[in-house]
Amino acid sequence: MPAFSHQPHGPSLLAKDMEASAFVRKHQTALWRFLRSVGCDAALADELTQDALLVALRREVTTREERTAAAFLRTTARNLWLKRRHADRRRAEQLFDAAEQLWQTDASTDGGNALLDALDQCLAELPERSTTALMRAYRDGASRGELATELDLSEHGVRNMMHRLRNALRECIERRMQ
């Protein structure tokens, strides 16, 4: 929404809002992708991204260097996420640390765009049947049962196929990112 912020009120608030807007626009996509890459579902990633941005704006992280601000946001998001993972906090911490390392290696400079480009290239190399299976599963939300019927496989077979496909794509992306 055209928040309260965009009303023609005093210039100090407007200037601050413009700075905040620019900050949000610059960092929101990369932070959200990072959270998704850690395993947060989309709704939770929305929420944590917003909360982390708010924390950063309240603490005036906007004035810091871009890389520092991005690292601050990821750490804040990590802490917000861990707060929700009481039951398996240790495991969540380890997963987050591993994801952070991967992010630093492959995505910290471009917010994950190169990874998506690599995926595009890997998808182009897949046989049609595999592409169809991925499209039906991820684009159309088809269940394992539906896929089994359409591909003339057992549900177990579909699970194995998807597992192999994902592994193949993973390796392909890693090769291209090297």
Binding site: M1, H6, G10, S12, R25, A42, L102, L119
Partner: protein
């Protein structure tokens, strides 16, 4: 990193990539939600940082102890000390309201939730709020613009509104104290009046709304203590007369209501109970009129805040805070404030007509002055501020750099607590020199020196 963790992280990453590329899942545009939430929070007095948090905590502890001690001596309760001037309860301070976008979000909130910020809620979602029996403050906003992938903002084709019929179901929320509505242009009035009336609401903020004179006349009859009409439209002379007839209002804000005429605003001279008045960003002289993302069409600018308006409101006996930011006022108008005994905070940001002659007329009672964006802050103007013995907070951000000698003289004479010099081009030596002048210096964002 163990192999298992590495594999799990790579799996999660793969899932994200596939969902985004094939599943058409897109990163959200949170710009407006974040800004809207920021705007519901009070503006901090000073910039908090890691080093002064302990100091602030210590001051708070000492302050609480002092209040408690005074209450023991005088027999007052701490609550009664909260506003020594009026004995009235303070307005709600927004602190991390629960963010909700749907009925399901509301239903997932703990029963003791006190503050909610709702985005794009419809008639079906609102009744879910009734379960929250301790809810004190609600902000409800509509997302009417959207941007795809960082592109330009465009009007949304299907914004989600609620109506009076849906909204009035909140009338049974007896704990409600503060309500912020933004952009809900389908709300015409009777549902809102009923909620304000039945809940005993103290604070009402209507942002980017169509507010008619009739609605204001009905609201002004109710025991509201704060009425803020930020960037709202349609009301005029009759509406402001109705506000001025209120028996209870302590705070009024017409910030950004660019259509207002000076004759209409001057009616507020009759609101004797007024303590806080925000008249910033009003009228054709406003720097930022025309920049808005309101669902309402841009109104024709009125004459806005002029010397006449200042002369009208200056005698208000309880007026403690007055914001005239971007107003079309001159030294002659400012001179009308000279006799005020109550005025503590004054906003004169972006008023370029103010000179030393006007500054000489600022009341001695003033403790906080905002001159942000003044383009001609010369030594004479600063010297004129020397005579304000009670001045403790001064905002000179984004002013053309004045002489540091004059600033130094001013700070020593006035015993400044806070000084804002954001936007100044300073050398390290100048920065060090300024750092010694006030307890808290806000250097903010500074332009790069060539």
């Amino acid at each position: 990193m163990t192999q298992a963790n590495d594999d799990a992280a790579k799996d999660a990453r793969m899932e994200w990539l596939l969902r985004e590329r094939i599943g058409n899942e897109t990163p959200p545009d949170l710009e407006h939600a974040v800004l809207a939430q920021l705007q519901t929070e009070p503006t901090p007095v000073a910039i908090p940082n890691r080093n002064n948090r302990l100091l602030v905590a210590a001051i708070v502890v000492i302050g609480v102890a002092a209040v408690f001690a005074v209450s023991q001596i005088t027999g007052d309760t701490p609550a009664a000390v909260s506003n020594p001037q009026q004995g009235e309860p303070e307005f709600v301070t927004w602190q991390d309201p629960a963010l909700v976008r749907s009925r399901q979000d509301i239903e997932a909130l703990p029963a003791d939730t006190k503050q909610v910020f709702g985005i794009n809620l419809d008639n079906d979602a609102l009744p879910a709020l009734l379960r929250l029996r301790k809810l004190e403050a609600i902000a409800l906003t509509v997302s009417t613009f959207e941007a795809k992938r960082g592109g330009p903002l465009k009007p949304k084709t299907d914004p989600v509104y609620f109506t009076d019929e849906g909204f009035e179901r909140l009338a049974s929320m007896s704990s409600l104290r503060a309500l912020v509505l933004e952009g809900h242009i389908k709300l015409k009035g009777h549902g809102l009046v009923r909620v304000v009336k039945d809940t005993g609401l103290r604070e009402l903020t209507l942002t980017s709304m169509a507010v008619t004179d009739k609605l204001l006349a009905e609201l002004a009859q109710l025991p509201l203590q704060a009425l803020r009409l930020h960037g709202s439209q349609e009301f005029g002379d009759a509406g402001i007369k109705a506000i001025a007839a209120s028996k209870t209002l302590r705070e009024v804000s017409l910030r950004g209501c660019t259509h207002l005429e000076q004759e209409w605003i001057a009616n507020l001279a009759n609101l004797k109970s007024l303590e806080t008045l925000n008249l910033s960003g009003i009228g054709s002289h406003t720097l930022f009129s025309g920049i808005r993302l309101s669902p309402l069409p841009e109104p024709t600018p009125g004459s806005g805040v002029t010397d006449r308006v200042v002369r009208a409101v200056a005698p208000l006996p309880k007026l403690r805070s007055l914001d005239l930011g971007s107003a079309d006022v001159t030294d002659k108008g400012i001179a009308a404030l000279k006799e005020s005994r109550s005025l503590r905070q004054l906003g004169l940001q972006s008023i370029t007509e103010l000179t030393a002659a006007g500054a000489h007329c600022l009341p001695n009672s003033l403790t906080s002055l905002n001159l942000l964006g003044h383009r001609d802050l010369d030594s004479q103007l600063l010297k004129a501020l020397l005579g304000r013995p009670n001045l403790t907070d001064l905002n000179l951000g984004w002013c053309r750099n004045p002489s540091l000698d004059a600033i130094e003289q001013l700070c020593k004479a006035a015993h400044l607590r806070t000084l804002n010099v954001s936007g100044w081009k300073l050398t390290d030596a100048e920065r060090d020199r300024l750092s010694k002048l006030a307890a808290q210096i806000n250097f903010g964002k500074q332009p790069k020196r060539r």
